[in-house]
């Protein structure tokens, strides 16, 4: 989109009925590195691509545990994402203090959306520049939501946000009908496959991605590197096609191990992407 005379303030409508500042905020989400979420009846998996500023620095944290039953993956301005995660954690803790039970995900998401909406209707504020994939468990099962900077939220079976997320979405669109009944392992494998699509040729290793799971009887947690690498090895052996249907198979090939330990791939920095967007 191009600059125009209606895009300076978030409180200025365009003649076509658009708020350009809000739309620009959504652009910021597209610049961040990919984050993917999928859910079954009983589990939600969040996956994201690790990006670091340089070979020397650590990678940006994109997945946050909000409570035992809720986690969030962000894409866009990570600082905004961090602040919103803190807000979400606070809401969960306060609810638990008053009611001794867990805040339903659906309600947290609405509170988040209302908070984002406020920033689209104040002249002294700006919209949050981060998209959030909120995954969590309710009494009514597992849920995945996407919260926009615009203040909208949607529930999804599976979704991907950030740069090159379209490739992941294409993969997910093919397979999403199977997710509801999927096992936990297959759900994680599908997440890894979808993630690989966004890497477009880059090597998928446990150091370039982060996976987190929450499910019935399983608190939200980020999988450690060995577990992720083992899973990657498993399906790379099975080949390009569908994810492995069999249960966890022992690692066999040595060559995929050695190629996995090759130097960590770092995406060359995109000149249009501000350093703070990850």
């Amino acid at each position: 989109m191009f600059r125009n005379q209606y895009d300076t303030d978030v409180t200025t409508w365009s003649p076509a009925g658009r708020l350009f500042q809000v739309e620009y905020a959504m652009e910021a989400v597209k610049q961040g590195s990919a984050a993917i979420g999928l859910r079954s009846k009983s589990h939600v998996v969040l996956a994201c691509v690790n990006k670091s500023n340089s070979e020397l620095s650590s990678h940006q944290k994109k997945i946050f545990k909000v409570d035992d039953h809720i986690g969030v993956a962000i894409s866009g301005l990570t600082a905004d994402g961090r602040v919103l995660s803190r807000y979400m954690r606070n809401e969960c803790i306060n609810y638990f203090y008053s009611y001794e039970s867990q805040l339903p995900v659906g309600r947290l998401v609405v509170q988040l959306a209302d908070k984002a909406q406020v920033c689209t209707q104040r002249s002294w504020k700006r919209p949050y520049g981060v998209g959030l994939l909120v995954g969590g468990l309710d009494e009514s099962g597992a849920h995945l939501y996407y919260n926009c900077p615009s203040g909208n939220y949607f529930e999804y079976q599976a979704f991907a946000i950030g740069s090159r997320s379209q490739a992941a979405k294409t993969y997910l669109e093919r397979k999403f009908e199977t997710f509801m009944e999927s096992s936990r392992e297959n759900l994680i494998k599908d997440a890894l496959f979808a993630l690989r699509e966004t890497l477009q040729g880059e090597k998928l290793t446990s150091s370039t991605c982060t996976i987190a799971v929450v499910g019935v009887g399983e608190a939200f947690h980020i999988l450690d590197q060995e577990t992720v690498q083992a899973l990657i090895n498993e399906f790379e052996i099975a080949g390009e096609e569908a994810p492995a249907d069999e249960a966890a198979a022992p690692d066999q090939a040595d060559d995929s191990e050695s190629s996995a330990t090759a130097a960590d791939q770092v995406t060359p920095s995109d000149p249009d992407v501000a350093p703070m967007d990850m």
């Binding site: 008053s98 001794e100 039970s101 659906g106 309600r107």
Partner: protein
């Protein structure tokens, strides 16, 4: 803060001297109850919860009001019973009505169950106690949600716990021993009512503030709360 400390002194005084040194702040908080309800008794039975209480509102030693409903349903899943100051119970009902309304306004599939309501009330009662302005009640909170039975109690100082059988006031001394002996997991509805009736009869004999008109509420697994009223005559 200073006014609060003045108020604390007057708590130790008898009402006679109290009237001489009453500060303005005292009229802002509960000092002693006026119209009170006596015991509430609650038990879990096989299919849910049973609560019983008489319908008396005493004004000191006078049995003034005889049709006071001290048991009320709360939301879709819970029942509350109150002893102590009736006006404070009415205030609590207003808090709970607001709470349930807000809960319903979300219009999602979620709803507050008895455990959540009990905890909310605990926070309210304890907070009021900390401000030296208690809601002068002992509450019984019970209900069923998703097949899970819940029964708990909380009083004016914020003490709270759950159990299979709870009671307030004189019920603690007269009814609980009976319940400890005769309660078991698989009470049918009829057995539960008979057991509660036994407790209420003893309370009628021995509690000065008891009246001979009862209210009994039950909460079933999977079904919304219902109620039945009964009269019992002295033997």
């Amino acid at each position: 803060m200073l006014l609060g400390i003045l108020g604390m002194n007057s708590l130790d005084c008898t009402p006679a001297t109290n009237s001489l040194i009453r500060s303005e702040a005292d009229s802002q908080r509960t000092l002693y109850p006026y119209v009170t309800g006596t015991s509430v008794v609650g038990i879990k039975y096989k299919d849910g919860i049973l609560l019983a209480a008489d319908m008396g509102g005493s004004y000191g030693s006078t049995l003034r009001y005889k049709s006071v409903e001290r048991l009320k349903p709360v939301g879709k899943h819970s029942l509350i019973g109150a002893s102590g100051e009736i006006s404070d119970f009415q205030e609590i009902m207003r808090y709970l009505d607001d709470l349930i309304l807000s809960d319903n306004m979300w219009d999602d599939g979620n709803s507050l169950g008895p455990k959540e309501v009990h905890n909310y009330l605990t926070r309210v009662m304890y907070n009021r106690r900390n401000k030296f302005n208690p809601l002068w009640n002992s509450l019984v909170l019970g209900g069923v949600k998703n097949g899970q039975k819940y029964l708990g109690t909380v009083n004016m100082i914020g003490v709270h716990y759950e159990d299979n059988h709870v009671a307030t006031g004189f019920g603690n001394h007269l009814a609980l021993p009976l319940l400890r002996d005769e309660w078991h997991e698989n009470l049918t509805f009829e057995e539960g009512v008979i057991l509660l009736e036994k407790c209420m009869r003893v309370l009628l004999y021995r509690d000065r503030s008891a009246v001979n008109k009862l209210q009994v509420l039950f909460s079933l697994c999977g079904i919304h709360t219902s109620r039945l009223l009964g009269n019992c005559c002295t033997v």
